[in-house]
Amino acid sequence: MTIVKNDDKIILIIKTKVPALLDKTKRQPLETVVVRIAGDSGDGIQVTGSQLSLANAMQGSDLATFPDYPSEVRAPVGTTYGVSAFQIHFGGRDIKTIGDEPDVLIALNPAALKTNLERLRTGGLVIIDTGAFTSRNIEKAGYEISPLEDKTLDAYKLIKTDISKQTLAAVADIGLSRKDSLRCKNFYALGLVYWLFDRQRESTYAWLQKKFAVHKNVANANIAALDAGHAFGETLEASSDLAGYSIGPAQMENGLYRLVTGAQTMAWGLAAAAELCDRKLVFASYPITPATPILHELATLKDLGVVTFQAEDEIAAACAALGASFAGALGVTSSSGPGIALKQETISLAVSVELPMVIVNTQRAGPSTGMPTKTEQSDLYQAAFGRHGESPLPVLAARSPADCFDVAIEASRIAIEYMTPVIVLSDGFIGNASEPWLIADVNDYPRFGHEQIIIPEAFAPFKRHPKTLARQWVTPGMEGLEHVLGGLEKDHVTGAIAYDPENHQKMTDIRAQKIAGISRTIPDLEPDQGDTTGDIAIVGWGSTYGPISRAVTNLRNDGKAVSHVHLRHLFPFADNQDELLDNFRIILVPELNAGQLLMMIKATGRQNLQGLSKVSGQPFMVREIEAAVDKILEKIND
């Protein structure tokens, strides 16, 4: 690995060679591993997790991460509801999920142990900071006796050490206060993890030096803690039979990579779309968990001409986006379920006036406030059917953090080419999860929205393109084409207010036909994995892509005739969807809701359907999908 310093930017360049291991012979090779770091919300768990992600990425491992943090901003220290966790699955092959169960749990206090231990695989490794296991903290976590003294940890391997004390010792010379010194203990734990999996520390050094460029002693203290944790691992190696593990690089396509969350790629995809159609991006939003990071990301792109607007409420955000589109910008609004509900009247107006607009829904567990930081896919009905009147619109869903970039561009293209609002479904998992991304080149994407030729003499606001049925996007400032838009029903050509019964029938039909016709731009559906015929097709959408994909790989390795069909287009469906699904005996539809896609496919007349529903706020485990498949196979093979 080489570190190149380019002004204040630090770029790390590595070639995917396995770095020379200190002691290859003793380390036990692992294909993949799942590590979960848990501690108090003030312990810097998310920072620790992102550094571990980066170190892994730099070493050529594929990975998937997910932060699991509480809704409370700063819950009381030491309580179970104040526990913040970060899970990472990394390894030497392609990683599609965050892993069903952790192999390693780092618990920085008793509450973290209490709330996370049951996820750990039996026989897994627990790393504990005994310094945080004071009688007060043990009591706060709800343990009657210390879990270090009873049978709580009998089923696991254990490294227990006083991380707090050792961190204080490691940073003693730097001269920070005791409180600030203790804040380095997450990096001590990280150093130990780096030793455990033979990860290199350079990327973390570089990050710390940049992050604390002004407060150099803070950077130095964290580096000292990181090194001390790593050194502690080496002494473990000498004094016990634990020799650590080795993890190889994954086979990845050549190119330039970075770690991304779904919120970042969604934001960048929208900005890229604005470039591709040569329009200003006006992004209007109101803060709501877990959608807000998209607003944060776009707010840093003002120098590129991106306009972000934090509106007074969800309705105003939707209206401002539509107003921006009315005036010729790419108007985008974003929220989560409850906020989308508030925007629906405006979205209906966008359907009626036929203006482009993109609405991003980062779904969370509902109804109502529900569980804001937990993921769910329960807004599919709301997206497809959630307005008043006959108001169809296209619905697309992203399947992973990296996929958000492409979906944002496609949604914007459809919105402009078809002059329609488009809903993009993401979710809390995709928005916050991170994975390595082969950085896209905007120049590889087709430009769109440049084909408009307007002849003033022949112009009428609701004349349509013969093929797409889209009207023209004529905006204030264009001379000689002045007209009024509105929510009242319009004459099918002139756009003048019209109550004529036949006209309303006609306009309703045209609006539906226009949206149905979008399926012509959707590529034919093909199995993502597996054959075009078989016993079972697992049909999924959105963030369940990863677990379904891994399950299908495993099932096919076991010789089972299972295919994975993933839907990006949820309304309208791809034209050949029905035809493809006809070739399977059973269609299994796993969803993080009570069966919404299941119902939508049922509505196409299909009978051989089976749902797999989960609404616990947690993603699917691979084994849950495998079990559902095995059960069906048992039945049909009887």
Binding site: T16, Y257, A316, F326, A329, L349, I439, V442, T475, G486
Partner: protein, 346 residues
């Protein structure tokens, strides 16, 4: 000698659309439409650059009756839609048409925020103190005890005063006008147009069907002069059929006191001179009830501050200028953004 081929100036009629106006006969809206079209001609508005955005209600039909760009949107949301449009294209001449229900009931929140942000636009709030389009229910500006189909025994809601609301929201331009007082209305519309930022104009608009004559005490010819004070910048706050009434400062009450010049030793120089940049005075004028004191019309407050789009644009220039000063090449597009930060080559 060569003449440049200037387009002929547009007249008020040139701003009329082909649509048949469908307000009730005698509706105050006709007079407002007339004044707006005349103003558009006088200010030399460009049709293609002028936009009328409205919500829902009788007044919100307005965009259909002018032949500029228009958006007849949804109930209460015109300010939010207009804000988005101005962010997309700050060069538009934006007019928002709303009513007492649209602007102060369902859309009160958006009205508050467009005013405090100071988005460059003219907001014409047609106040008829009643819901017209839904057939006569009481509105947020209706007097206490208004009898209506939804309040047969009298309404129990305390009304809100639009001008006071606007001042409270931090509006930098607040005026009151009367539908039938065309000269004053025209002057106010022009002043509002010239003001950079959100200009709020409450227009007392008579609804002959559901609330006829509700403003008569201070708008009818017979009583107008004694019960309405038309304020003008730098002119004394006098009124009355003989122009011998005026407002002095009632210092013990921090209030304005109506007086008659010559009575109780009141001298003309005691009468306050209107200062449209004085926000406190604007509040005092706006809160005069119209019972013991006259109702104030005209430009109550007019203080210039940069508009929202202006500060938005200015911030972008600053950010861009700062980026140019950095040693690394400035990013020119999203491709550059994607490649910034930590990345690695496989």
């Amino acid at each position: 000698m060569t003449d440049t081929l200037a387009a002929p100036a547009l007249t008020a009629n040139d701003f009329a659309s082909e649509n048949e106006v469908r307000w009730c006969p005698g509706c105050g809206d006709y007079a407002i439409l007339k004044a707006v079209k005349k103003t558009l001609a006088e200010i030399g508005a460009a049709r293609e650059n002028t936009v009328f955005v409205s919500g829902i209600g009788c007044s919100s039909r307005f965009p259909h009756y002018v032949n500029t760009y228009g958006f007849h949107s949804i109930h209460g949301r015109a300010p939010a839609i207009a804000t988005g449009a101005m962010l997309a294209n700050p060069d538009l001449d934006m007019w928002i048409i709303t009513g007492d229900g649209d602007g102060l009931s369902i859309g009160g929140n958006h009205l508050m925020h467009i005013l405090r942000r100071n988005v460059n636009c003219q907001i014409l709030l047609f106040n008829n103190e009643i819901y017209g389009l839904t057939k006569g229910q009481y509105s947020p500006t209706s007097h206490f005890a208004t009898r209506s189909p939804s309040s047969p025994s009298g309404s129990l809601d305390t009304p809100i005063d639009p001008a006071l609301f606007a001042l409270g929201c931090g509006a930098r331009f607040v005026a009151r006008a009367v539908d039938t007082q065309q000269k004053q209305l025209g002057e106010i519309l022009k002043a509002a147009y010239e003001h950079s930022g959100a200009s709020f104009i409450e227009i007392y608009q008579n609804c002959p069907v559901f609330n006829d004559g509700v403003f008569s005490p201070f708008t009818e010819k017979a009583s107008r002069d004694d019960f309405q004070i038309q304020v003008e910048h730098k002119k004394p706050l006098t009124y009355g059929s003989e122009n011998n009434k005026g407002l002095i400062s009632n210092q013990s009450q921090f209030d304005l006191k109506p007086v008659t010049i010559g009575q109780d030793g009141i001298k003309p120089e005691q009468i306050i001179t209107h200062d449209q940049t004085n926000r406190t005075l604007a509040f005092l004028l706006a809160q005069m009830s119209g019972r013991d004191t006259p109702t104030a019309t005209g430009v109550l407050y007019n203080a210039s501050e940069p508009s929202y789009e202006h500060v938005v644009t200015e911030q972008v220039s600053k950010i861009t200028a700062r980026a140019k000063q950095r040693p690394e090449p400035a990013r020119s597009g999203i491709n550059d953004v994607l490649r910034q930060g930590f990345n690695w080559e496989v």
